[in-house]
Subunit: 223 residues, 2 copies
């Protein structure tokens, strides 16, 4: 079965306090997006990519994949108004039965092991949503206060959210709803069950300047 990584690189980087979107910031002299693409190629060199980037950054993305000499494996398209619309734009380029890995470009510490485990489970069950337990206690905020919540029931969701194409493609033909906060919620809205899989605590999302620093150090430690 063909493996397609749909990499969403739509963020504008406001929380980083930079003008450059996070996925193009440099980590060990390489853009964040380079690390992400490289992890998938390490998992399987036959991966192909659909890269969804802000319209202003199509040139930067094109330059990067040319430098990486992987232009023949990559389709670049522009992002939409929400994560749903961006992923939908990307999915328009899935033309054959495949396993589709929808992945945040800024989770650049993703490791091949998790990618391969997601593949195995998606083949078997149709979906694989990586998630980890919370190491902190958890509370729910309500209008008039807050209450404790059993953290053993909670899962913090990562990417790649991985699906058989025959599950995810029809799901994205639905009319957009505000409840579509990720791909799992879209696939569920068609009446499908989605299956979690154990994620990886190092598979962090780069959102704050400190995360860039931590990511850099984790990469150094791995090398």
């Amino acid at each position: 079965m063909k493996k397609i990584a749909l990499i969403t690189a739509g963020g504008k980087g406001n929380r980083m306090g930079t003008e450059i979107p996070k996925q193009f910031l440099l980590l060990n002299h390489k853009p964040v997006l380079w690390h992400t693409l490289t992890a998938f190629l390490k998992a399987d060199q036959h991966f192909t990519f659909i890269l969804v980037v802000p319209a202003d950054f199509i040139d930067s993305a094109t330059e990067l994949i040319n430098e990486m000499k992987i232009a023949d494996k990559v389709t670049i398209t522009s992002g939409g108004e929400t994560r749903f619309h961006s992923v939908k734009n990307g999915l328009d380029h899935v033309k054959e039965p495949s396993i589709v890995f929808v992945h945040d470009a800024v989770r650049c510490l993703i490791q091949p092991d998790l990618i391969n485990r997601c593949f195995e489970q998606a083949i078997q069950k149709g979906s694989a949503i990586p998630a980890v337990a919370s190491t902190d206690s958890v509370r729910i905020e309500m209008e008039d206060g807050n209450m404790p919540f059993d953290r053993s029931k909670l899962r913090l969701v990562q990417t790649p959210q991985t699906f058989k194409s025959d599950l995810i493609l029809p799901a994205f033909q639905q009319v957009y709803q505000d409840s579509f906060t990720d791909e799992a919620t879209v696939v569920e809205a068609m009446g499908n069950v989605v299956h979690l899989i154990e994620g990886d605590y190092q598979n962090i999302k780069i959102t704050r300047p400190m995360d860039m620093f931590i990511a850099q150090k984790i990469l150094e430690e791995r090398n």
Copy 2:
């Protein structure tokens, strides 16, 4: 109002794969617990401490506070069967009206600013429970599957869980319940409302070897 930091250092460190409890591992040549104590003293040099440690480590803790020349500010006591029992042992040493900060020893990146904000709010509202939003999507696991949960309603709880002594002392006279997973749940069980406060993403809990590494790097960055 007197400020007392009740530092719980009860963990056995199983997830670290070490025999030494995490609070005694070295970060920049100093034990984790040294960093924690130092942060409170930076917030206010008049802090006094109640240190709850495993019985086997009372000697190590005593040695540390002697080296730090703060033995006159610190009462050391041994931990109990659960976090509730450990904190209860510690609270037996609170003898006058005060603001009590119950803090995980392994959150050694705590910064004086958060400690001072907790104090201000606890004076005003009786309690201050630091918590941050999740940067990840969230799901609830159920017996027969899982469902999405609105992450904007969720708070990941940190320490110091901070209270006026006249709230927390009577609360810990209650009979233990399994639902007492932290101090907030104990205080609530008396019919009190607890108040959240914005935490700090750097105020991480050291639970895995990678956390020690990240903590070390964050400390280097701060210096």
